[in-house]
């Protein structure tokens, strides 16, 4: 389980970094999106301890065994991270859109006015 999760993360990171190093703007933006997925998965993975129920406690009170549930905190953090990455990705998209249109190209190698 640990290895599979870690490998999924690894594959996502590989794909993301490959895409980010490509020449077309859309590939870069897609790469960023994949990377944010990878980052989210990392956090969820960090809270993984084995089997457990979803962190929704039963109605009936009484002492509760925290070990019966999966860790809720990483989930909450991921929720935050997902929404942030949605906002940033949306902004990046708009930015890419304008870059694409104003430069008239989607080739990163040609968008190099600012060197040195």
């Amino acid at each position: 389980m640990v290895w599979i999760l870690a490998m999924i993360i690894g594959v996502l990171v590989t794909v993301a970094s490959y895409l980010i190093m490509q020449r077309r703007i859309i590939q870069v933006v897609l790469g960023m999106a994949v990377l944010s997925h990878a980052a989210n998965l990392m956090i969820v993975a960090s809270g993984w301890v084995g089997d457990g129920k979803a962190p929704i406690v039963p109605k009936t009170g009484g002492p509760l065994d925290p070990f019966a549930y999966v860790d809720p905190l990483p989930q909450a953090m991921v929720l935050t991270a997902i929404v942030i990455s949605l906002a940033v990705t949306a902004f990046l998209l708009v930015l890419a859109f304008f870059t694409y249109r104003k430069f008239g190209t989607d080739d990163i190698d040609e968008i190099r006015r600012l060197k040195g």
């Binding site: 979803a54 929704i56 929720l79 929404v83 949605l86 906002a87 949306a90 708009v94 859109f97």
Partner: protein, 141 residues
């Protein structure tokens, strides 16, 4: 992107998604759900509807002031925090019980108000980005 089937079922879907998102918002503290999910669902519902109907129609029907919606949402969340501040610490949550006629006991969580603010922000921002992009596209074509 217009299709007759989509146009026909879209309003129904919209109302269903809106209803479902309200459900998610209100029951978020006990079930999976909450402001984020509800907000996103609302926004996605509206977006689908928009895409389904005519461009002009979409703009006419959903020309809401989304900036105000997200600002209001943010203000609500912030002010909820400030209410907690008055109670001792920023974002301190409190639970109030009301006796309402016909309905009976109602528990009001300030955290719930906070969640409503989140809902407003999510809907407002997603729609703001979406409408702006659509407009830009319209200008383009």
């Amino acid at each position: 992107m217009r299709s007759l089937i989509l146009q026909t079922i879209a309003p129904v879907v919209l109302h269903l998604t809106l209803l479902f998102s309200m459900f998610l918002l209100i029951y978020g503290h006990n079930q999976p759900g909450g402001g984020f999910i509800a907000g996103l669902m609302t926004a996605v519902g509206i977006v689908l509807q928009w895409i389904a109907v005519d461009e002009e129609e979409g703009r006419r029907r959903f020309n809401w002031p989304y900036e105000r919606i997200f600002l209001a949402g943010l203000a609500l969340s912030t002010l909820t925090g400030v209410w907690g501040y008055i109670k001792g610490a920023y974002l301190k949550s409190s639970i109030y019980r009301f006796e309402l006629p016909f309905i009976g006991d109602v528990e009001l969580f300030t955290a719930f108000l906070f969640d409503v603010g989140v809902y407003g922000v999510v809907v407002g921002v997603v729609m703001c980005i979406f409408t702006n992009l659509c407009e830009e596209e319209a200008k383009d074509s």
